[in-house]
Amino acid sequence: MISLGSYLAISFALFISGIIVMIARKNIIAMLLGIELILNASALNFVAYTKFSNNNLDGHIMSLFIIVIAAAEAAVGLGIVIRFFQLRESIHIDDAATLQN
């Protein structure tokens, strides 16, 4: 039951749901949630290949750095969201169109 294929399928489903969240949601915080799902899918792939392909721990190291980068990205992204809310009183993605025209 625990095999490389099942891990890849789970990580694939996580990735797809992250993509759908990023596309279908119009809320900036919800889009950040989608990014977290996608980063988790990639980290899960690294760990699964470490276990089932070769047992050196480089995949674990890579997953650790992915977690670090996800934390930094969440902090900066939420800072930007809060600043945007202070300026526009909204967190709707279509209100962020200043550079568009």
Binding site: L14, F15, V21, N27, A71, L87
Partner: protein, 178 residues
Amino acid sequence: MFTNTLFLLSAVLTLGGAAAVVYTKNLMHSCVYLLASLFGVAGLYACIGADFLAATQLVVYAGGVVILMLFAVMLTGGSGNNINRYGLEKITAMGNTKTFFMAGLTAVVTSLVILKILASVFKSHSATVLTANEATVDKLGTLLATDHILAFEISSVLLLGALVGAAVISRPRKEKHD
């Protein structure tokens, strides 16, 4: 037996949480479902012997990122005005038919591409023998302090930069922007 049960439970938690993040309309509930999904991923790590990663996942995500998200949701909720309560009323929560169509199309194309890869993996790795799990903490520590020391230091600088940047970006300005 125990590992199989843990794996099934974690897989259901992960996939159910991710699907609920997509489906639910309330942003607050969506954050909590993301927490469930991240717990499931930590269980999946534990199933294949990545004990240190499972612990890190729990500490960083459940203790840090999701709490940060909930804080941001509450800070941008606004007090009293229902228009921007969760950013929901302006958007009918999940987008309209066009965005759903685009999301479905993208999902189909991506799944076709990736299933082509997944199918070959299912064929070639159908009968893998699980090796015994062993503790990875000491080896990970040795690797981080020897082979990957440069990336380790760079990531600490990155975290410092993100800390300062988030504080600078989100601090309240005195002057009024119109």
